[in-house]
């Protein structure tokens, strides 16, 4: 968990032109693992995460002056990373639709088994396959709530969706995943 004092120290460095690079290094060191894990869960491919995380960080660096401290720094970072991941998935799906009609769950299963950053067992892999079958934005909502345990108010700031819609989306996702896991267990 990142505390307020650490966030404040990073922001102070980022605001100072002479310390900006040092502050950015601290930002990546502190928040990088959080964003990397969020993107791994979203994209289910460490090779894609390398690209999307760098795109995210470039946007963060270029738009540091737009962060007005109206939300937590982590919320702002999650928002940029989530938008980058959703845009990446949209372009990837457009490309793949032209060349393959394979079930996304099967693709995710195959990709993850070969991914050096996935070390899960059979049940964890089944959950990842069930997640791959969710619409991208619903998957983002589910992941932020289920794994990161973020409050709906914060997920609302990240996704730009109302809290009511988020709750409905999360519960629908739980039902879908539950039925997929039940089918796997039988």
């Amino acid at each position: 968990m990142i505390n307020a004092a650490e966030e404040s120290a990073i922001l102070t460095q980022l605001r100072d032109e002479r310390q900006r690079e040092q502050g950015f290094g601290a930002l990546v060191r502190v928040y990088g693992p959080l964003l990397h894990r969020h993107l791994l869960r979203m994209l289910q491919s460490s090779a894609d995460v390398d690209d999307v995380l760098q795109n995210t960080l470039i946007k963060v660096y270029r738009h540091l002056d737009r962060f007005r401290e109206e939300s937590k720094l982590s919320t702002w970072l999650y928002r940029i990373a989530t938008n980058e991941a959703l845009a990446w998935l949209r372009s990837q799906q457009r490309r793949e639709r032209r060349i393959s009609s394979e079930d996304p769950a099967l693709t995710a299963g195959r990709t993850l088994r070969a991914d050096p950053f996935f070390d899960g067992d059979a049940a964890q892999l089944e959950l990842q396959k069930a997640l791959a079958a969710l619409p991208d934005k619903q998957r983002a909502v589910f992941l932020l709530r289920y794994y990161d345990e973020l409050p709906y108010a914060e997920i609302s700031q990240i996704t730009g969706t109302s809290e009511g819609a988020l709750k409905a989306s999360y519960h629908l996702a739980v039902k879908k995943i539950e039925s997929k896991l039940k089918a796997y267990a039988q």
């Binding site: 892999l125 934005k137 739980v174 896991l181």
Partner: protein
């Protein structure tokens, strides 16, 4: 997560959350290098258009415009062998008639937010 919501999670999902997601994190060195590479990319100078490359681009554009103008002029005066453009181009209705309805549906579907569509499908707004 709210304890009530956590309790309502199906047992399989609760157990899987306890186990973690199965992913591993890269070492600290990865993030240090990533920060350096990002800063280097941000500071990389933008591509500068030289006067010479701009001249070639302008020359190519002018040549293209001249060719287009000559071709259109020939058609307008009836010297060309091709049919007039208005007759040769099929209407949008004719073009759409050749596309199967499933493909149109898929195209429209891909433009809608899957998330919102699903929500409305599960709970129509007037219910």
């Amino acid at each position: 997560m709210h304890s009530k919501e956590s309790e309502e999670l199906p047992a399989a999902l609760r157990a899987l959350r306890e186990k973690g997601d199965g992913f591993v994190s890269p070492p600290d060195a990865y993030f240090a290098q990533l920060a350096q590479e990002t800063v280097a990319r941000v500071h990389r100078p933008a591509v500068v258009r030289t006067w010479r490359s701009a001249t070639w681009a302008v020359a190519a554009s002018l040549l293209l415009l001249l060719g287009l103008w000559l071709a259109l002029d020939r058609d307008f005066r009836g010297e060309g062998t091709t049919t007039p453009m208005a007759q040769a181009t099929p209407s949008s209705a004719e073009l759409l008639a050749d596309i199967p309805p499933e493909a149109i549906e898929e195209y429209i579907g891909s433009r809608l937010s899957e998330f919102e569509t699903e929500l409305y499908a599960a709970q129509p707004p007037n219910e």
